[in-house]
């Protein structure tokens, strides 16, 4: 199955472009942890609002900080939030989805009620509320807040998959030889639902990156001077009329990132589940 999927994925040019951009982003994020052209917080490196020059490739921002360095630092924040949220929300969603789909009964009733209540609510409102009310602006808190809304989709998906998989013959066969429930869930049902789970998790990453950007834009993100694309865009908006590069550069980075992840997600969906292909 995996070799098949890889072959289909390789044929999809857009998905490859997406994966290339994502790889560059991850490398940038890792590099920025050890080295950036200038420290991300250092101010007055030159004239404030200076446009791109040879010394500062992307120019300087409103306090004379090097935008390229901050862009690299922002990639790190985005990646941590994206991957962190995808991991955490997948764990919550997979566990609850498996339990609800496998045991049905009251477990399913509770999980489904939770999903149906929160499904209709705008995610951004809940995330804003959690971040603002807890007054914690660390990365862990942001990841936690976004995960608390993002697990719904995963739980829904896994529950549906489990509901149909548990009736299949191979599960019945495994059960008839006395396999325990935990073993059934982990060894037999979970691996067979892995394809859609990976696709769903891939789509959580850009959504989480976007949420973090929104939060920072609104002033509820990571604390300054930690660079974040949303916060950089928000600062740049004030000087839009005379120094548009300050907002355009992080905005372009954000768009490119979201696009890359969307291409990758679409490609993975087509590769892993050809039936879902549109």
């Amino acid at each position: 199955m995996w070799q098949d999927a890889w072959r289909r994925l390789r044929r999809n040019r857009l998905a490859l472009v997406g994966m290339a951009i994502v790889t560059i982003l991850i490398l940038t994020a890792i590099i920025s942890a050890f080295w950036t052209p200038y420290p991300v917080w250092i101010q007055s490196l030159g004239p404030t609002y200076q446009g791109p020059t040879a010394k500062h490739l992307f120019g300087l921002d409103d306090s004379g900080r090097d935008i390229l360095s901050r862009l690299m630092g922002g990639a790190q924040v985005s990646m941590i939030v994206g991957v962190g949220t995808a991991t955490l929300s997948s764990i919550i969603g997979i566990v609850l989805g498996l339990l609800a789909g496998f045991y049905r009964g009251w477990v399913d009733a509770v999980v489904s009620l939770l999903i149906n209540i929160f499904y209709g609510l705008p995610d951004l409102l809940i995330v804003l509320l959690i971040v603002a009310v807890t007054q914690q602006r660390g990365l862990q808190n942001i990841i936690l807040a976004i995960s608390l809304t993002a697990w719904l989709g995963m739980a829904r998906l896994v529950r549906g998959q489990t509901l149909s998989l548990r009736e299949r013959e191979f599960v019945e066969a495994a059960r008839s030889v006395g396999t325990r429930d935990v073993h059934l869930l982990i060894r037999h049902i979970f691996p067979n639902a892995l394809g859609p789970i990976i696709v769903q998790a891939t789509f959580v990453i850009p959504a989480a990156i976007l949420f973090e950007a929104f939060l920072s834009y609104l002033g509820f993100g990571v604390k300054p001077p930690t660079p974040s694309w949303g916060a950089m865009a928000s600062e740049g908006y004030r000087s839009l009329q005379f120094a548009p590069h300050i907002i355009l550069i992080p905005a372009a980075a954000l768009c490119l990132t979201l696009m890359a992840f969307n291409f990758m997600g679409d490609g993975l969906r087509d590769a892993l589940d050809p039936r879902m292909r549109r």
């Binding site: 489904s112 149906n116 209540i117 209709g120 609510l121 705008p122 995610d123 951004l124 409102l125 804003l128 509320l129 603002a132 009310v133 989709g153 829904r156 998906l157 549906g160 769903q200 789509f203 959580v204 850009p206 959504a207 976007l210 949420f211 950007a213 929104f214 834009y217 609104l218 002033g219 509820f220 865009a233 908006y237 839009l240 009329q241 548009p244 907002i247 355009l248 905005a251 954000l254 768009c255 979201l258 696009m259 969307n262 997600g265 879902m276 549109r278």
Partner: protein, 337 residues
Amino acid sequence: MTRGTLIYIGQRLLLITLTALIVSSIVFIGVHQLPGNAFLSERSPNPLAEQQLVHHYGLDRPWPVQYVSWLTGVLHGDLGESLVNRGVKITPLVLREARVSATLGFWAMVFTITLGMSLGILAAVKQNTLLDYVASFCAVIGYSMPSFVTATFLVLLTVTGFFAWSGGLVYENIGWGKPEQIPVPAISLGLLPSAIIFRLTRASMLEVIRQDYVRTAWAKGLRSRIVIIRHALRNALIPVITILGPITTGVITGSIVIEYIFGIPGLGKEFINSIANRDYNVVIGVFTFYAILVGIANLLVDLVYPILDPRIRSDGHLTQLFRARCHFRRHRHLRSR
């Protein structure tokens, strides 16, 4: 309207009420467990005055008592009083701001649906032409463009651009209150969802156009406009209608950021401001209102659905609703941009 439909609507309204009640209760109780209040941030408070304030809002009572009195108020349509602006009742405030947000959201939806659907139909009918390629390419970009980025480009274009091109004659001021100030925020809000609608309309139109009954319609020699609009479009619209629910939610969510950027005095801006001011009474009120608003918007979409697709009739079972919703589960990740 049949009896079944009425029961269905009743059940949905009950679910909305339940959701609003549960969610606002969680928020209320959660918020009241926190240390600190709105008065802490004010300049050098007089201890006596602060005590009077705390007493005025009933914050000195144990929280279960506060909760019961708050709930009684809510059930009578009274969301309480602002903690920061003394004497300001929240219900009329929220209703006034909801009208502003609704105006913005309405025009954004009109823009989204018109642009997305018409381009989607055109691109499908003229598949593999230049128009199709250009529109599809733009959709791919628009699909990954957060609303504040679109807003930035539009502001650059209209405010700075028009000012420069007209030699300083036209200065398009951003803000709210005049009709000419609506398009820029509405388009910023509606561009991303229109890319989603475009892709969906195009895909489902392409699928429908190839079906036998459409070929029959062509073979009968009907004019192309009639075939496209009367035969193909009606069926092609079904998946598009299902995604309108999530898109409405997305537009409502997106309006928070857009209102903040453009300084539009709507619910979203109030939400941000009251969170920043720790005006928890307003936060809870606005949140409750949002929950109801989104619930009703989704209900309206679900009611349009069976009109277009007679196979799905609301027969008064909540399960039916959840089954119908599974159709757009796949598009859920697109919702909150």
